[in-house]
Each structure stands twice: as C-alpha cells, then as structure tokens.
Symmetry: C2
Subunit: 415 residues, 2 copies
Amino acid sequence: MATDTESLAARSREAAGALARLPTATKNACLTELAGRIESGIAQIKEANEKDLAAARSTGLGDAKLRRLTLSDAGIRQMAAGLRQVAALPDPVGGVTRDTMLPSGLRVKKVRCPIGVILMIYEARPNVTIDAFALCFKSGNACILKGGREAAHSNQVLSGMAKASLEGHGVCPDAVTLLTGSDREEMKALLKLSQYIDLVIPRGGTDLIRFVHEHARIPMVQHFHGVCHIFVDATADVDRAVEVCTTAKTSGPAACNAVECYLVHEKIAPVFLPKLVARLAAEKVELRGDEATRKFAAGAKPATEEDWGREFLDLIVACRVVPDIGGAIEHIRRHGSNHTESILTADAANAGRFLDEVQSSCVLVNASTRFNDGFSLGLGAEIGISTSRIHAYGPMGLEELTTQRYVVEGFYQTR
Amino acid sequence: MATDTESLAARSREAAGALARLPTATKNACLTELAGRIESGIAQIKEANEKDLAAARSTGLGDAKLRRLTLSDAGIRQMAAGLRQVAALPDPVGGVTRDTMLPSGLRVKKVRCPIGVILMIYEARPNVTIDAFALCFKSGNACILKGGREAAHSNQVLSGMAKASLEGHGVCPDAVTLLTGSDREEMKALLKLSQYIDLVIPRGGTDLIRFVHEHARIPMVQHFHGVCHIFVDATADVDRAVEVCTTAKTSGPAACNAVECYLVHEKIAPVFLPKLVARLAAEKVELRGDEATRKFAAGAKPATEEDWGREFLDLIVACRVVPDIGGAIEHIRRHGSNHTESILTADAANAGRFLDEVQSSCVLVNASTRFNDGFSLGLGAEIGISTSRIHAYGPMGLEELTTQRYVVEGFYQTR
C-alpha cells in the first residue's frame, strides 16, 4: 500500500512540473467546465452522497457529522459557484513582487511560483474536495486530497469530474489525486514523502491536527482551533457592542472565528452586561461568567478555570470582567490561540495598543471576529486559516498557495 | 537537562513578546553598541577562540574545520561591520504589504510582524553567533543559538557581549540565548518545543540537516546543499562564458552557490570547451566530463554517474554536452537541488524558456550562480539560502524573518 501511495505521489510531482506553467486561460477553462459538470451532475453526485450517508447512518455517525457529510442541491450549486469565483480571481503565478536594478547591473525580480504538490487532509465535508482542488489548481499546484472515508463515494464522483474536466483541456489528470483509505499507517507513510510533497494542510479536529503534527516530515500549515476574544473597552458604544458580541457567536456558533470569550472593562460592565445578557438570552446563548460578571449578569453560569481558552463550538460564551486593557491583553496572551481578537473602543490609544500588543493572525478594532476569513478580508477565497506563523498566518488564499523565487538577468557579470 | 532547555525556551518566548514592539532606534542602538564592544574586545574574543582552537587541535579536528573555527582580527572586524550594516537596513516590522478598503467598510491591512522565537543550529563558525543574532534581533525575533561545541568559548564571549549590549539599552537579555551542549538528546528535546519555538533554521552539513528534519516538530526552513548548474547555450558569448563558468567555481569552491556542473550545447562545445579547459587548468580546477565533453577537453577526467548532482565542495566541476536546451533542463530536473541555475545565451526565447521551466530558488540569465546570496540580490544580509519552497525560497533576509498578520479597522460591523 505504501508503494502505491508513493507512486501516486510521484505522479503528482510529475504533474506539478507542467502545472506550474499552465496558461491562466486553460486553468480557468478547466474550472469553468468543472462547474458545468457539477451542475449537470447533481443527480449523480447526490446518488453517491446517499451511499455515504446510508453507510454513515448504519455505523451510527453523529448528527453534526451527518450534516457535514450531506450534499444538498444548494450545497452542490454552491460548489459550482465557488469554482466560477476562483476562475474569476487573478492568477497569482508569475506575479512580480519585487523588481530592482542593482548597482552590479543585475536586474533582480522576485516572482510568484507554485509551491508544487500540496497534500490536503480533511474530514467529512465532501465540498472541500472541490474547494481545495480549485484553489490548488488555480495557483498551479498539484494536490493530493485525503478525504474522510465516510465521504469516499461523494469524493470519488467529485474528483472524477475534476479529472474529466482537466482531460478535456489536455491537462494531466494527475494534477488531482484522491485518496480514500483511512488507514493511519498509510497516512503516516504519506506524511514522510518529502521528496514528492511540499506542504501538508490538515483541516479538521484536534486529533487530526495532532496526528499530522506528530508524524509529518513535510512542512505543515496548521489550521488549528480558534479561541477568539472580544474586549469591550470602557468607551465602547454599548448598543452596537451588544450587537457585535452577540452575532460574533450566533452567526456561526461552531466556526473557528466565532467569539468564545468576552473581556469586559469593569467601568462599562454595569451598563453593558445587563443588556448583553438580555440579548444573549433571547438568542439562547449560554453565558459563563466570572464572579464580577455574574454581579451584573443575572442567570449567567459560573465560569470554571477550563472555560478560559476553550473553543465551545456551540452557543456558549465565557465572560470575564477585567480592570483595564492590560488585563484583557494578559488574558488573551495566556488563553488565546493566535486566531482572531477584537477590541471595541472609542479610544484611539487603546485601539493602537491592542493592535500592537495582541499578535494574533487577525486583530480587529470595532468589528466582529467573524470577519477573519478569506472572503471577508478580500482574498476572494481561502483554503483555511493558518495559526502557524510560518509561510502564512491567517486566511490562506491563492497568493498564500504560492512561493517566490528569484529571477535574475545580467550581461555576463562574475563575482 | 531537558527541563533546563525548556525553561530557557520559555524565557525566549517571554522575551519575544516585548521584542516584537521594540522601537527601531533601540534595536539599532543595541546593534551599534555590540559592534563597538566587539571591536574593543578583540583581545578577549581571540583569547576565547584560542581555547577553542587548542581543544580542537588536541582532538584532531580537520584543517577545513579549524579554518572555519578561527576568528582572525579581520574576521572579528567583519562581524562588527556586519552589525552596523544590519543596523542601517530598514526595519521590516510594521511594514504594510497590503492596505485595502473593502465594500463592507472594513479597512484591511496586512502588516509584517516577527515570527517569534527562532532556533538557529549551526556548526563550527563562531561568526554565525553574531550574524544570526543581528538578523533575528533586527527583525524582532528572540533567538536560541545552538552552536557547535567546538566553538563554545568563542560563542560564549560573543553572546555575552550581545546580552550586555541589550541590557545597556534596557532590553531583556533573554532575546538571545546560547546553548553550548552537543548532546543529541538535548537537541531532540529542543526540536519538540513547538509551544516555545516557531522556526528552526539548521545551517551545516547534510548530517545535521537530516537530523533536524527527522526530529523537528517545529517548522523548519532548510538551507540544504547547492548543486548549481550553468547551461552554455549555442549562442553564448564564448570568451565571457569561459570567464563566468570559471569564476563561478574559483571564487568560492565550497560555497553553496558555486557551480558544480556545466551543461554545454553540442553546437558550441567544439569552440567553447577547449578554451574553458585551458582556463580551468590555469586555475587548477579539475574537470570531469562525459564522453562528448572529453572529445574537446583534453585532460578532462571521465565523469561517473555519481558526479551528476554532486556538490564537490572543492575545485572540481562536472561537465556534460547536451543536444539542446531541453536536454539541459532535463538534466537539471533530475540532478539539481533547486538552489541556483544559470543560462548563458543570446537567444531571448531560450532565456525565457529556461527561466520558465527551471524552478530553482534563483535562476539567472547571463550571470554567475555566485550571485545567489542575500548581499548580491539586494537584501542587505541573509541568514541562509532556503531550498524549502515554504515560507522562504532562496536567500532569507530581514523580511523573510517576519510573517504577516491582518489588522482590521471597522465601525461595529457584524457578519
């Protein structure tokens, strides 16, 4: 099995060479054709998905996982729309990020080029098969997609459509490879193939990330958990702060950029907390507060030590009253996950200090943490949100799926 | 011992927080002060270096290693000059690389910030202690310097001077930490501390790189071997090509950007090779050629299969005659190390094709491979030349020692 995996990876490497130089028009044509194939193949996709769902139900897969596994008509159309969106984005490959003429007479350019072969490891969601392929392909990378076994039938149909679209335009179908096994030994073998694979991006639960971190001998960009904080400063606009704080949880309770903890300045707590509590109660959000919070938040449960730095993945938020901005920053330093933090304030000095001292991948002033994703930040699309500080920090769009090399022109200079 | 290492790393992490926000002027003052301390401490540095050298001689360390270990007056002054150079370079921290106002009204900036804690692992050269500290510090990173045990006394004195310079300006001396043990178990423990260390940069021989690659659970940027090629196309300027080809080896026979293999177009071989051979002979460079090469290169030794893709680290170069540019590109694809490749040609189409199809970290037209370093490419300085395609590819200067985060300003937008 390891040998099969290795030969597949070797073919990905081979495909990557040509992909790096594929004209933008050809890439866009492939993506657009795939969008059409998906739209006209809804019945076929749903049939495959139904097989996965039936198997999942019979093995007693939980409701949340079943939901992620399900491909609805709207979800399928969304995949097609996503492909057309990626086709419309600028091609990052060949982009010149520096162009200087040096005293030596050398003209030195820094030019974007694909990373090479990207291994994407993900769990139940079959739409990731299409989303990840689209981004890797548009940025000139070959991809190896290791989806969850639960979604094997759905992924097989989708990657088959991708391969057919490539072949229709004379592109080597090895540009996308689907692996459906769930053998951890196979995964370990895959994670050691540094001669063929340039980057691994795991997307999934903590166990998956830890497993990859432990076994990868390939560079990894991790999309780890988001323990996001909002600091409500003394000068925040109370009503609008209630709105931002509430929706930063309710608009996506299990999203990685959802707020998990409010830090409230003690001066604003008596006014702010009662309003927040009322609003959260109306939205059925559970609040877990420290003692100071509970003085103004009737009905809040006591927060335990474990509630700080916890990703609830549900309609639950922790809350702590802090004496000042320093207390908020210190709490974030100890309990944050470097994902997303926001300050709500009218005080420019405090905004500046917060932006300066909190070094998360995305730090916001007077805006919801939910804006930390590739779409909201203007990247057009994203393959994940990195909490690694190497290569990419924050949402990874097309540019973050490239690297940069030096291209130098001279007239026979020596050194 | 592992616990000691861990607590040192934890202190580095602590120091990194403040370093990220240190004013440029303070950083420059520390670097300049250190330059002064080094210049006025030459006697003290040489005394420590003499201890290392005596110990090294008694254990029978080879000549090449002894040379690398030796700090001459000129070498010490060069370290001080390097510090002043780094002080004069622009501070990358806080640099804004994108600034957009989105339709949502969010102002989104991408801002350079330090990586955090950088572990540098190197071998005999004590000057790396100062060079690596200077670059890490200027880019706002704390560094852990794991130098070779042979250089322990020299490194101790140098890092002591660095710490004293920091303290003189109120900067936490934990910004630089020297480890002098050579226990591989200690190194393994260090390479697992991903909670404290953000990046490891190994610089040294193949064994060291392999060891770090095997044991690191921390992101790594590798500075691996350079097997650099020059393709002499049919239309190259013969005399200038001889000059470039010769000096690309002789100006630094063991440098990673030195040429290791000439690929010569068969049409130019009869004119070019005899001239090249004469020039190489005068410079005492050994040429190892394939059969076609030896027809025109009297005295060239036969190249064996192992000579392709080999880093000679000496006054030796391999040579192969190729039928066309495709043959050259294919040879590089099979035997290159993604470090540096150059084409010498008057044919613009071939230059374009070479730049396009050879995806090494630095590809040159009509210039010596020796130009692939941070100084020659205009970065001001470098901490190494990465052959990893992740994070940095090619020379790593100050900018490559930073990452980028998102800073977002709004007016209570929700999503």
